[in-house]
Symmetry: C2
Subunit: 178 residues, 2 copies
């Protein structure tokens, strides 16, 4: 999976470090990846012939290993884009916690939702801050904006759900106290 992302980011030749920075700036909200993971994957892509690398001097640090996408790499990228939309396995750790919160007596649910709401709101804020900086005229910018937009709408829906849930929890908690 990371393969496609790295091949996509290598639209222009870049070092692993640059790819990782690009990643953090533009794609952080859609995929998480570690520097070590990126280096390893680039290494594998090179063995597979999807990229080539060349060591080049850097103006402000140690030597850089610059990766270039090959024709085969471009092909692999297009093949990935031609695949059906990949719905990932759902993995919501906080929902799993909430699912069993009844075992904690139910008294913790409200505090948990409050905390969750705060964290989600924070994430939403960072997404909203990025949005106006995207130029939607060119194709890449347009698609970037589409993905960012889902992040924003999804987070808003989650916040609404937090509010709805907290409204439902309060009377239950009150009943328990009686």
């Amino acid at each position: 999976m990371l393969d496609g992302i790295l091949l996509g980011l290598l639209r222009e030749p870049r070092s692993g470090y640059d790819v990782a920075s690009e990643f953090r700036r533009g794609a952080r909200h859609l995929w998480a990846a570690d520097l070590s993971q990126i280096y390893r994957t680039l290494g594998r892509l090179e063995k597979e012939g999807h990229v080539t690398s060349r060591v080049e001097p850097s103006s402000r640090g140690p030597e850089r290993r610059v990766y270039r996408r090959t024709a085969s790499g471009k092909e692999a990228l297009l093949a990935w884009l031609a695949e059906a939309p990949a719905l990932p396995p759902e993995r919501f750790a906080y929902l799993a916690q909430l699912f069993f919160m009844g075992e904690a007596g139910g008294g913790r649910t409200l505090a948990f939702l409050k905390d969750l709401r705060r964290r989600l709101a924070e994430r939403l804020r960072t997404l909203e801050e990025i949005e106006p900086s995207i130029d939607t005229e060119d194709d890449h910018g347009f698609h970037t904006h589409l993905t960012l937009r889902l992040g924003i709408l999804a987070h808003r829906a989650r916040l609404q759900w937090c509010d709805e849930s907290m409204r439902r929890v309060r009377p239950r908690a009150a009943r328990r106290r009686r």
Copy 2:
């Protein structure tokens, strides 16, 4: 992470196979897990003393290894529930594809979104079918319903996003044809 879920499902003694079935029925929308992964994790939880197991005859199949949660297991579960809400690393494979869809010339975006919408709508339908069957009176049912509810709201938001996105894509595609 799976530890907490398994310990939660072991509110009553169950075999690995039962846990997996329970999983598919009630928690499929919040965490994905493989049977082999569940067996292995139960094995580890036993080594750690959080569960014990005993082989018992089955009425309709081979022998079952039934797991029981220990006091230490209950403690570990409560500790997990007391942790802050765990926001998982974002991993949206289909968003990653969309992010780079400009490389495919942009002509594929609409078909991609249509396909995605269909898949998401299908998932939403299965969630909505489960909803009315949940009894929200008891604590576990209530919390189950909360998590299901987020699944439903999140999917509705995604569908809206698909529609919004398709409306934005069409004029661009028309412009490209000129």
